[in-house]
Symmetry: C2
Subunit: 722 residues, 2 copies
């Protein structure tokens, strides 16, 4: 082919003519012609079917992983948790993933001393000193290692000693204090007794402080967590034993409190205690969590008005009264805050066609005690996903996009491992990550639950249609799922409950959180161990296997589908629904939602349009036969990926600038809350209490902000400058 050779020489002579690719294309074309008469690999869907075709032994592998991961308590920063990291790392490596550990140096704290005594002031009764220990039952296989568990405490609790009459304040919500005020009960100067259950414990202590309390005791009411006096409890039943205590963090926010917004690297800037206090995420009065037995003992010492009906305990309980007093509590907590090294473990399978587009699967590893449910059911499942992906790779599969399995540390303290990593890698995440798929507790019981950003709804339905229900082999997970849910099938990610938070709420990465569960009464207690899982959570480990199937399948579709399986029409419908809800909240107020409705209409149009464009690009016959311009596919996918980012606003929520997403974020008074439009929600709450013109104007401003974010998302979907 002399013509070709001549041209090539010319190319060499003229270094500026590199951009002319015609001759190279010719070369390529001929080479392809010669090379391609070999068998083509099976389509990706074949591999996806293979991925979910479960054999008999998966459950054994998963349960083995869980057994090993939960041999000892492994709180963040402990040697036991570093051992668990090694196990995860070596398992991922053994499954042919490229692995590494990313460490951060974060401020964690541990209890040094705790004491709680109850005195009856009038008439002077005996003083009870609570042991604050969780009992070990006869025959407990973990009796030896149980003492390695961190003593029951609240992470980031205020150190100090306080004393006061005790007042009962129900779940410690803002409205509970309002009820007490209405009853003429003043909790100022008291130590409040609160029951766990409705709001995040950080908000429990904050609300108590704001109501004037000097200390907080949070207990597990048997009404909410089972295992009452006459009932059965672990190890006989799934319920919390009377001495069981829910440990947990009080931090309101995400990530290391000493490094707000940036990564806790070895030599980084750190806020001092005073600055952290000003940040508002750290409690200002001491607190302790206690068991149902201790809570009941304290309750018996409270007199005064009988509490309202919905404040009462179970059928067998005494009448709850609100006090304050005559019971008097002395509470001491001293904690030790240190900069501790934590480890995030990663396993990577590099994408072949789009190595710079990422699908992330994440679960945390650190546990308050053994972590059989929380979080190592998820960790075991993650390792099972790794095993199956290796199986696919051995059969010739390679993902189109890069898949990263992430195993986070220090989630329990405040989503720390994931948040520090997200803060460090923020810029890359913002422009390259397709989706983050979280599984915290993979299994705590029966019933499939999933939350996600709405463009993923359809994909989640499709994936669950391909996986068998672990509890009813005659149907799919999808079929059981739609039978069990009355209203909204897919939940949303407004709360700060797990490691998805920084991905969606700080960066705007489409996200999913899923689990099998319900009736998980031993949450954050010493009894969250392998025995509990085997007896009550998932005796056959088939639910774990099902989560591995759904989680991995969603990841595979996101990683392999030429066009990202995102549908923003669902997003528009969901926003429409949320706006309708909002309408009810502001009835009769001087607020117009029409900017928001208009922007949602635009979004719906843009979403429909891009769906049509995708169909056109997918094409039929010739269009698809000829293959697609990879940059055209990329362009459309980038719009689908980046539209979620557009829901974030760089200035963030008012007063909480770390939270950038204007649709999904925690509510100001309950970090577990998952309402839409958190900024609007906060503003309404303020306006309802102050009821000034100015405050309602702020609500309108927040409505405008959301509508502008929605408009930005439409523009991104359209992919055209105005």
């Amino acid at each position: 082919m002399p013509f070709l050779e001549e041209n090539l020489l010319e190319e060499r002579k003229s270094p500026t003519s590199k951009t002319s690719k015609t001759t190279y294309l010719l070369f390529i074309s001929i080479s392809i012609s010669l090379l391609l008469f070999t068998a083509s690999p099976p389509p990706k869907s074949t591999y996806h079917s293979l991925y979910v075709s479960v054999s008999e032994s998966e459950n054994v592998t998963v349960s083995h992983h869980l057994l090993i991961l939960t041999r000892r308590p492994h709180v963040a920063g402990s040697p036991a948790n570093a051992d668990a990291a090694s196990y995860v790392l070596s398992t991922l490596t053994s499954h042919s993933l490229r692995t590494h550990i990313s460490s951060y140096h974060v401020a964690l704290n541990y209890p040094l001393s705790r004491s709680l005594t109850l005195t009856r002031a009038h008439p002077l009764g005996p003083t009870i000193t609570f042991s604050l220990d969780q009992e070990i039952y006869a025959g407990d296989p973990y009796a030896d290692v149980a003492r390695e568990a961190v003593p029951t405490f609240h992470a980031y609790a205020r150190s100090g000693s306080v004393a006061g009459n005790v007042a009962y304040v129900n779940y410690g919500r803002v409205e509970d204090y309002a009820t007490l005020k209405g009853m003429g009960v003043n909790v100022s100067g008291t130590v409040v007794l609160v029951r766990y259950g409705k709001i995040y414990r950080g908000d429990i202590v904050r609300n108590a402080y704001e109501a004037g309390a000097v200390g907080v005791v949070v207990y597990t009411d048997t009404k909410d967590y089972g295992g009452g006096v006459d009932g059965k409890w672990f190890p006989e039943d799934r319920w919390m034993p009377p001495s069981g205590v829910q440990v947990g963090s009080l931090y309101i926010g995400a990530g290391d409190p000493t490094t707000p917004g940036w990564a806790s690297t070895s030599a980084c800037e750190r806020m001092d205690d005073e600055e952290i206090e000003r940040g508002g995420g750290i409690p200002l009065i001491p607190s302790l969590p206690v068991s149902s037995a201790d809570g009941e003992a304290i309750m018996e010492a409270i007199g005064g008005h009988v509490a309202p009906d919905d404040w009462q305990g179970g059928a067998e309980s005494i009448d709850y009264r609100v006090g304050p007093g005559p019971g008097f509590l002395n509470l001491t907590y001293n904690g030790n805050q240190t900069i501790t090294t934590i480890q995030n473990v990663f396993g990577v399978i590099e994408g072949v066609e789009e190595p710079d587009r990422y699908v992330l699967l994440g679960n945390h590893r650190d546990a308050w005690t053994f972590g059989a449910v929380d979080p190592n059911s998820g960790t075991a499942t993650l390792l099972e996903v790794a095993r199956r992906l290796e199986k696919l790779q051995k059969r010739g599969w390679k993902p189109r996009r890069t898949i990263i399995l992430c195993n986070w540390d220090a989630e329990e303290y405040g989503l720390i491992g994931s948040t520090e990593w997200v803060e460090e890698n923020r810029e890359m995440l913002a422009s390259r990550v397709v989706a983050y798929l979280n599984v915290d507790c993979a299994v705590s019981g029966a019933g499939f639950h999933v939350s996600s950003t709405p463009q993923l709804d359809k994909l989640l339905k499709q994936a669950t249609q391909q996986v068998q229900d672990p509890d009813n082999s005659s149907q799919t997970v999808y079929e059981s799922w739609i039978q069990s849910n009355d209203s909204q099938m897919v939940g949303r990610l407004g709360g700060g409950g797990s490691d998805f938070a920084s991905f969606i709420q700080h960066v705007g990465v489409p996200a999913v959180d899923m689990f099998y569960g319900g009736e998980y009464a031993v949450y954050h207690s010493l009894y969250d161990d392998f025995v509990w899982m085997q007896k009550f959570g998932d005796p056959m480990f088939h639910r774990h296997v099902a989560v591995a199937s759904i989680w991995g399948l969603v990841a595979l579709k996101l990683a392999d589908d030429e066009f990202l399986p995102f549908d923003y029409v669902s997003y528009a419908s969901e926003l429409q629904r949320s706006t309708k809800e909002l309408e009810n909240e502001i009835l009769g107020k001087p607020i117009s939602l029409s900017p928001l409705y208009k922007s949602i209409e635009q979004l719906n149009k843009a979403a429909t349009k891009i769906n049509d464009q995708r169909k056109a690009l997918e094409g039929n016959g010739w269009a698809s036969m000829w293959g697609k311009d990879p940059l055209k596919v990329r362009e459309l996918n980038d719009r689908l990926m980046m539209a979620e980012r557009a829901f974030t606003d760089r200035d963030g929520l008012f007063g909480r600038p770390w939270y950038k997403h204007l649709i999904y974020g925690p509510s100001n008074h309950n970090d577990y809350g998952s309402k839409s439009f958190p900024g609007v929600d906060d503003a309404i709450e303020k306006a309802k209490s102050s009821n000034t013109t100015e405050s309602w104007k702020s609500v309108q401003h927040e409505v405008w902000r959301v509508s502008r974010a929605v408009t930005h998302a439409s523009l991104v979907l359209n992919g055209k400058f105005t």
Copy 2:
């Protein structure tokens, strides 16, 4: 080819096997083989050479455009400026660009009434009432239309009447008020006389307000603008006539003040006057600009201490004294603020290979008067760029990336047209724009000047090496440029001086601003007309042609080069240099710059590494012969493009959250300032005046913030997650 057909049938039968492209590739390869034995187009560099190969007539075309654009005064919002928009639109359309207009509804204001009188209180002298008119000279061809010019005023000036003894405050800088204080002069309650020149006029009025003045008169000192009593002035010479007045805006900030951070669309949220006032960008005391003649008349009425030597006027001036009084000024200004429609005009040439990557060339159109220099020398040049691009297209050239020519409106009021558009399109700009190339005043005299973000330095040098010096045909622009500059050749974009601001400072888009100029004394006056340009600015219009060459060539390289011509090693050196400067400023203070130095070292490493990776991808022999994977090229280019974004911080500068870029932004006390590290600069200024431990800690915090941004940029260049 039976094998193929069979496979195709199989594909049709199995809809899930679409991702298998083997068979299609085969099809493609054969088709390419058949098709490619046609001539290949010339390399892009040939077109680029053609672009700069200027014939004899370019200057005629450019001068014709300028003549038409400057026929009448055309302030933003005027019908004359809408006519100019039509001219730009039709010219771009005639040059085969796809054009459109994007309108915004912005708050502009115009003077309703103005008056200024001077009385000598002691002894009672005659009252002078200033006409505040700019005189028309005999034979002025624009005499008829000159009255269409907006009366001399300050845009966004405070309406009201004030009176007081007049005090002379030099350039009205913070340090000038400090000098007065040192002299025992109290300016509280006075109307201050300030001369234009060293700082932004918005800061002049703000500083006066902060010093306690009740009104401000800003005049043009012949010392700084030429044309003194015995000198010559326009039309005899380039200098400002005695009655010439520099009009201009006082707004401190960018974009419509009623829509901070969002686009001024027809039905959008708007801040009310009170909220705007709280924003701090709008002056709180009335002011007027006056001529040198009026300024001198006022100066003559000022007694008191003789002003310091460097406060004095030219050789022919009287002695300047500081007052206050005995001269007494009555100043009235009333303006009319209305929501006005403005038009941005766009012309697009769609990229063939990467239509979703953009190179933007921008210039504004609105002028305070005729705008021959400011800004329509740039507009005429933009139209010349369009003409030449059409010429290339006719010869078969198509850009790799999309090129957009932008013609902004209402720049003079506060970069409004460009800012509203950037705010509306922020998300797309952030992820898709390669660079923004600004030309405001293309030509005001001799001497090439350019400012840019540092990764573009090398490209600017290369481009100027390809263009002939318009004032010395024996050498290139580059050669004259290096001869004329003693220290730093390329300036930086920290100031708020033109439409590049929102691109670089709000979004983090790499940017350039260039012009030919010097001794442009008629700035913002009635005399900035075609006659001035023809007589003094660019008699042959060859400088215009040279700007068109450089501007377009830089754009072509950015649009056509397979790999983006960005070099971050320059960025690292530049940051190193700026940090050294910073070191001098904080000598002896408790500030460590080592985090910053470390991060710059990382950046330098990352920049070197990506340069090597580019070389490897560009390859020799086989590697380049086979063509490159377009997604691999894209991946590397994305890192180069997005690294600049990483210098922005979503929270923005302290107290000025709209400014997101931590390296380049205006200084707090002078919007024209263009220092590096504006956040550090602000903090140092505060710390130096308060000198508390807390304030120096804030400086350290700002140093940390910058170093984290630099680290983010390195991570983006590396393209790897930690």
